[in-house]
């Protein structure tokens, strides 16, 4: 067995809350609280969960856009959390991100040419004389053309902007990409175009990707494996087909059953969850899901359930399921 490209070990990210006259740290928002998973080279892994589950923070912390509170993120065996700024720069070239909002993530004052050439300059890739050709090639790769180099972001539609965002992420030829809700801001008829593009790029460039999304249909479609998060913790990890066919964790079951089926007259048998996701400032003791869980017992308040194997490559953190 080869070493996974990315190993996340017991990752924690707490955001301090300051209060009182002296602005001391009075509490923490436990956005990510002990998350571990691996991603193999060439794999697309989905990260799903409701808003507030910490999925975006996981992605940002892996890339060191946020500083981790604790834990390790090994990329090709090296813990990037402990790297200094200059050593980190080499890793930034290997790990890139595609943002959710194609309107906010492109500088409105820069031409597409500059947006794509900047990363090349920054990481000293290729001779400056080649940069324009490289930028044009990137645009063609994402379904745009050389003519678009001299345009500004506002001249493009949302779908086209997201293509530019993807081209920018690909510019430095990264080995790993975090895609943070890359299609959720797009119109329905445009989403499919961008999903197809990402799939083409995946097979063409052998990309490894962490695909963060709340749309479970999209995740099932594009991902090899899926990680389900709730309130900063991992609830279940399984292959995409396994997760949808045989969900183990009560939270996963509830989440899947809540997705409406685009077929009239059909409806999944719903596991209706009561209330909202609790505050991550003061998460429930034991299993964080127990306050909304239909299976919860007194035992659930006492122990934090470990991820345990429930099938081949399938783990679940629940004391009541096997």
């Amino acid at each position: 067995m080869t070493i996974p490209l990315l190993q996340v070990e017991n990752l924690r990210k707490y955001f301090p809350i300051h209060g009182g006259v002296l602005q001391r740290v009075v509490n923490n928002v436990k956005a990510v609280d002990g998350v571990s998973f691996d991603i193999n080279a060439g794999e697309v892994v989905g990260l799903v969960g409701e808003s507030g589950s910490g999925k975006t923070t996981v992605g940002r912390t892996i890339l060191r856009l946020e500083d981790a509170t604790d834990g390790a993120v090994r990329f090709g065996g090296t813990d990037v959390i402990s790297l200094g700024a200059s050593d980190m720069r080499a890793y930034r070239k290997r790990m890139q991100i595609i943002f959710q909002d194609p309107y906010a993530s492109l500088n409105p004052r820069e031409k597409v040419r500059d947006i794509l050439v900047h990363p090349l300059k920054l990481h000293r890739i290729g001779h400056p004389s080649e940069h324009e050709d490289r930028a044009a090639a990137l645009l063609e790769k994402v379904g745009l053309s050389r003519d678009h180099l001299d345009r500004f972001p506002h001249e493009f539609s949302g779908g086209q902007r997201q293509r530019i965002g993807i081209a920018r992420a690909l510019a430095v030829e990264p080995e790993f990409i975090v895609a943070d809700e890359p299609v959720s801001a797009l119109d329905v008829s445009i989403q499919a175009q961008v999903i197809n593009l990402l799939e083409d790029l995946k097979s063409e460039l052998d990309l490894t990707m962490l695909f963060i999304a709340h749309d479970l249909g999209v995740v099932e479609h594009i991902c090899d494996r899926v990680i389900v998060m709730y309130l900063g913790r991992v609830m279940e990890i399984a292959s995409a087909s396994d997760l949808y066919a045989r969900p183990n964790h009560p939270y996963t079951k509830a989440l899947l059953s809540a997705v409406p089926i685009p077929e009239p007259g059909k409806r999944r048998k719903r596991v209706m969850l009561k209330g909202d996701i609790p505050s991550p400032i003061n998460p429930p003791s034991g299993c964080v899901f127990r306050t909304r869980c239909p299976m919860a017992t007194d035992e659930c308040a006492k122990v934090v359930p470990e991820l345990k194997s429930v099938g081949k490559g399938h783990t679940s953190a629940c004391i009541h399921t096997t």
Partner: protein
């Protein structure tokens, strides 16, 4: 919403929109028709879904019905909107105010921006009750608490004094529904009411709206782009594109047998959860949604349509009756056989 009992009785529709045209004057020279000749009917107890992407005119249609178009630039320039047979497009602001809330309630997409942050939830609900039902302040407050309980907010007597920021997203959306329903309107317009919510909360909301419709018998106009939600809640579906209705039919018909290429394209472009076909490549619709300032000639969908011929580039097709209450705006619908979706 979907019931097991037979379709609601027809008769005079509760709301009848005919050939509605809404114009926005963007500048002295530039006007756009955000809604261009839209017609549909809604009966009591029925749920009509309006489906479309950004710029399709679905939200402007609902604002036109509510009389909430931005003053100075937006106006209903032609057509009629009849509420229980009464024309409401020509009403004064005061007359419209009597209708809003009392006859037609509305839920917006973003509860945080559509609730007033400086008043408590209770004050906001009571304000409307006092206006329309002439109740005393104390009675209005009691009614507000009753409404909060009806929409499933726990401890309503405490929550009634909460400000919007003290509530979670799901709770705010419930409060919005409570407010919209406080005066028992006969029509509820819900503009993307669950789009900003997580699926687990969305499931709660859809169930709540369904329960309330059963209890109160109101008609619902549900505006959304989520076809899964449409399949779950709608009795009839109106598909909009570029400010026009391009297809309308019963929910079963539109899903099993979409006849307009855009509708069929939408159906095929969504990944379906848990279906074996989902690993297949998605059939994307090429191109982008047109801006209302630069609509193509002929059929507005033709630049993105795989079935377009020369006639589509010049002549705007009319909305034609294809039998069984199924209307289609496509020059070629008689000859095209778009893949009929198999029930999987």
């Amino acid at each position: 919403m979907r019931h097991d009992n037979p379709a609601p009785s027809k008769g005079t529709p509760l709301l009848e929109v005919s050939e509605l045209q809404t114009t926005f004057d963007l500048s002295k020279k530039l006007s756009i028709q955000a809604v261009d000749g839209v017609s549909f009917k809604v009966h009591a107890g029925e749920t009509l879904a309006i489906v479309g992407e950004s710029g399709s005119g679905k939200s402007v249609t609902s604002l036109s019905i509510m009389g909430l178009l931005p003053k100075d630039i937006g106006r209903v320039s032609a057509g009629s909107i009849k509420l229980d047979g009464r024309e409401i497009t020509q009403l004064s602001d005061n007359e419209m105010r009597e209708i809003r809330g009392k006859e037609i309630g509305m839920i917006f997409q973003e509860p945080m921006t559509s609730l007033n942050p400086v008043h408590t939830i209770g004050q906001q609900i009571a304000e409307m009750i006092i206006r329309h039902q002439n109740l005393s302040k104390a009675n209005a407050r009691a009614r507000a608490i009753e409404m909060l309980e009806l929409v499933g907010i726990s401890e309503p007597a405490t929550r009634v004094d909460n400000y919007p920021h003290e509530m979670s997203g799901g709770m705010r959306q419930r409060a919005m529904i409570a407010m919209a329903l406080a005066c028992e309107p006969r029509i509820l317009i819900a503009d993307e009411p669950t789009t900003a919510l997580d699926v687990t909360i969305q499931a709660q909301m859809l169930e709540l709206m369904q329960d309330l419709q059963d209890k109160l018998g109101m008609a619902i106009i549900f505006i959304t782009h989520d076809l899964g939600v449409v399949a779950e809640v709608a009795d009839r579906v109106v598909v909009m594109y570029g400010g026009q209705v391009v297809e309308t039919a019963s929910v079963e018909d539109i899903f099993r047998n979409p006849r307009m290429p855009y509708t069929a394209g939408l159906m095929n472009s969504i990944p379906r959860l848990g279906s074996s076909i989902s690993k297949k490549r998605l059939e994307a619709i090429p191109g982008t949604v047109p801006a209302l300032t630069s609509l193509p000639d002929g059929c507005r969908f033709h630049p993105r349509c795989a079935h377009a011929t020369s006639v589509c580039t010049t002549d705007l097709p009319v909305l034609e009756e294809a039998g069984d209450d199924h209307m289609i705006r496509c020059a070629r619908w008689r000859e095209l056989s778009l893949n009929e979706r198999q029930a999987s």
